[in-house]
């Protein structure tokens, strides 16, 4: 009995399964998102999905034969996003002309669109599509969609071709002796520029799409066997967790993947120069390129990278070392100078040489504000001028600099509102902060913090503030690498490319803090 009941149970289950699969088949048939065999219905559906799209172009024509009747076809594309010559020569001409000419005997009867793809189309990339969603996405990505009567599939043919900026010299990082090309807004141009620098099959480019509405193409670039797999995995997993509406620039992704989003110091490095990014990849870092952004991010970023420039590796090593130390001094000046001036002039006057003290006292005689207020006022004005100078159109920007320099500086001193030393301090601070452009934002905020510390506690306040800053820097991790490495924690090999830059043949190892898989960069130089 039990055996029989088991058999009945099995049969029942089988029947249920069959019913389920049948129901599913009926569902797909009814599903309005899937293409049908009727061309007119398909055209209507595409037009309804992309309704109110004035730039959608529909070209109807007929080609070849299927069961002795001409095949009616429709080609959809978005005007301005495709290369018209490719459409004419690669799609319409072969279909309308070649399919009927005598030498294409193999295609006298077209049984499927696969055959069209394999034997007729002259295009680098084509794939079958089955849903209207895919068709809409294909169209808005700059591809052409071919639909034909009697086939419930379409073809998405790559004919991308829109106006884009040519490869030009980057404006934010100029180079005297290095390569002059810069990234553009096209991700493929950007990745190709990196590939041309690193002709290694282990250079991997992984693609993903981020942004629910923008559907932006994002590429993860790294060198397999060199970058630490844990790092690659970590970056990938952080990227996969991003749930965002729009990605319009690289910086849209930054807060989602970086370690210290509230810190004033950047933990993700970016550049406009392919050679600089290639250099980072070759050290074992990972890069992220975003379509539509002429900057490529690289991670992990160390604090020391604020002071490095691609030009350093082109110039002679003693000069590069001197420049890096100079940048460090400029950084120190731009962070500490206003605070130090306040501390010395308010709390520790005895540290100022007597003659200088007299000059300072004479020039600030009659100034109605305390030094702190004077300094804060001038710093604020400087920040405003800087912001206005960047945002305004270039011709107006010049006016601002004249008003700023002459009216604010000269007139304020003459009117006796501000002491001349304060103006000089602000000027030196401002110029110094431009020597380390990458950290300029961080510098302007830390300067305020130290200004407050100095005005409350003098040099003691600056010391404590400086220490807090140092602890903050050493506590930051960028994708597992300590931010202040190779200084703290101290690493021997890393020091060779920090504030000193030894000759390239002595840099035999890659930075330890990045934990690369392949540590050795090159063989040790023969003894000179």
């Amino acid at each position: 009995m039990r055996f029989i009941s088991q058999i009945i149970h099995v049969i029942k289950k089988k029947q249920e399964k069959e019913i389920e699969t049948e129901e599913r088949a009926v569902d797909t048939h009814k599903n309005p998102n899937i293409l049908s065999k009727s061309l007119s219905r398909n055209i209507q559906s595409v037009q309804s999905v992309l309704v109110n799209s004035a730039d959608l172009v529909l070209r109807e024509f007929s080609f070849g034969k299927h069961q002795d009747t001409e095949i009616k076809a429709a080609l959809f594309f978005i005007d301005g996003m495709v290369n018209m010559q490719m459409i004419n020569d690669g799609i319409i001409k072969p279909l309308m002309h070649d399919s009927q000419s005598s030498h294409k005997k193999g295609v006298s009867d077209i049984a499927s669109l696969e055959e069209v793809k394999e034997k007729l189309l002259v295009s680098g990339e084509a794939k079958a599509v089955q849903t209207f969603n895919d068709i809409a996405l294909g169209c808005i990505s700059g591809n052409a969609i071919l639909l034909a009567e009697g086939f419930d599939k379409g073809l998405e043919i790559s004919v991308k071709g829109w106006q884009q900026r040519a490869v030009t010299e980057p404006t934010s990082e100029t180079s005297v002796r290095g390569p002059r090309e810069g990234f553009t807004e096209n991700i493929r141009t950007n990745t190709s520029m990196i590939r041309r620098k690193i002709k290694d099959p282990s250079l991997k480019i992984k693609a993903s799409t981020i942004g629910k509405r923008t559907q932006t193409l994002v590429n993860l670039i790294y060198i397999e066997g060199l970058a630490n797999p844990d790092l690659v995995h970590e970056v990938e997993s952080r990227m996969s967790q991003i749930d965002i509406d729009a990605v319009l620039a690289t910086s849209y992704l930054e807060p989602y993947i970086e370690d210290a989003p509230v810190s004033v110091f950047p933990t993700i490095w970016f550049s406009e120069k392919p050679d600089a990014v290639a250099g980072k990849l070759l050290e074992g870092r990972v890069a992220i390129a975003v379509d539509g952004a002429p900057f490529v991010m690289s991670m992990p970023m160390l604090f020391i990278e604020n002071f490095q420039s691609a030009e350093d590796y082109i110039k002679r090593s003693p000069y590069s070392t001197a420049m890096r130390i100079l940048r460090l001094i400029a950084f120190m000046i731009s962070v500490f100078m206003p605070a130090l001036y306040i501390a010395l002039s308010t709390y520790q006057q005895e540290l100022i040489p007597t003659t200088l003290l007299f000059t300072m006292a004479a020039s600030s005689e009659g100034v109605p504000f305390p030094v702190v207020v004077e300094m804060a006022l001038m710093m604020m004005i400087f920040e405003i001028l800087q912001e206005a100078g960047i945002r305004m159109p270039r011709p107006v920007g010049q006016t601002i600099s004249i008003v700023g320099a002459l009216v604010m500086g000269e007139a304020a001193v003459r009117a006796g509102l501000v002491g001349a030393p304060v103006v000089i301090v602000i000027a030196i601070t401002a110029v110094s902060s431009f020597a380390v452009p990458f950290a300029a934002d961080a510098v302007s905020l830390t300067r305020w913090f130290l200004l407050i510390m100095a005005s409350v506690m003098g040099t003691y306040g600056i010391t404590l503030g400086g220490f807090i800053l140092l602890v903050h820097l050493v506590s930051i991790r960028s994708f597992g690498s300590p931010y202040l490495a190779p200084l703290a924690p101290f690493q021997n090999a890393g020091i060779k490319d920090s504030f000193v830059r030894v000759p390239l043949d002595d840099m035999t190892k890659r930075p330890q803090s990045l934990k690369p898989q392949d540590v050795v960069r090159q063989a040790s130089p023969p003894s000179k």
């Binding site: 970590e234 370690d259 709390y347 506690m457 003691y460 010391t463 404590l464 050493v474 991790r477």
Partner: protein, 388 residues
Amino acid sequence: MKLERDSISPNQFMFSIICFMHAIVLRSGFIISITRQDSWIMSITGFIFSLLPLGVYVALMKNYPNKNLIEINQAVFGKIVGNLISLFYLFFFLSLAALNTHDLGHFVLSYMLPETPVAIIVLFFLGACFYSLKKGVKNIMHLSTLIAFVTLIAMIINSVLIAKDTHFEFIFPLLQLEPEKYVQGTVSIGAVVMGEVLVFTMLTPMLKNGKKVGKSLFFGMLISTFSSVVVMIRNILTLGPLVTVVTLPTFESIRNVSLADIFTRLESIYAILLVILFVVRVSILIYVSVLAMTQIFSKESPIVPELAYENSPREKKKHQNQPPFLLLTTALTFFYSLIVFESPIENSHWGATVAPFFSLTFELLLPAITLVAAIFRKIVSKKKEVNA
């Protein structure tokens, strides 16, 4: 704040010992008032004397590898008695933190901010310590290499710049004082300066390579001794008989630097370094107190292993649920440091007479008892094994 394991290298450990020691080495005034021009010899004899407690610590750590002082106490005496003994250590660490904070507060008061209330100075100082510890003691350890380098380089530069003002005859007469003064000097340096390395027995489990603890402790102390000898000789050679009068000989000695009117007033750099060294020192002391408190009062082990991507925003939240001992300890240190001495005279009297015995109780007596108990326990357990 996180209580961590396995995160620093023996070298970083050594440099943090140097930073810790240097904070007090730079302030060698109290010892110079006892043994005058022979004080530099006391640094050497004091170091030799401190090898005794060091030997006890190393022996303890060999018997109980990867355990700190509190855990060793728990292992040797059992949970209840061990924790009772550990409470003494906790008191010692807290006292040291308060005493050092008090010292720093008064240094800043007299040399940098004479009109500011000491409570405000201490409040800002402990604020910096609190922030540093909130970010993790490991970061201070990482920084210590940099700070130690800067301190040593500053010391060398200062010594070179002052060279032209030194008078070699100031070092004589050698060893002419009463012998008991030398004993007092040796014990003072050994206990008050060097013996405080006891604090680091709480941090040894942080080391990547536990076997090198003894080496790191020894070399840390040796380098500190060397620099203290250099500083003391420099102070004696520049200040001469004055060295016993001033409260901060190093400060006064560097004040004399004057080279072509450019290198003057270098004592301000010394003051900055001293403040930084004291932040490191007091931070370590507060951390050790918090660690001791947590281990004595909490049931589970509060120490978390190091994470590869620990600072990622997601991981951060998981490991911040320590009891608020850090805030408590910092607040305790604040009030303790304000009331610890009523007057500077009481302070210096304590430093010269009571301090060595107070320190030695915790630095030598208690660990020695623990070591004897540990050895006894081992012998008993071995006998049991043989009998079984």
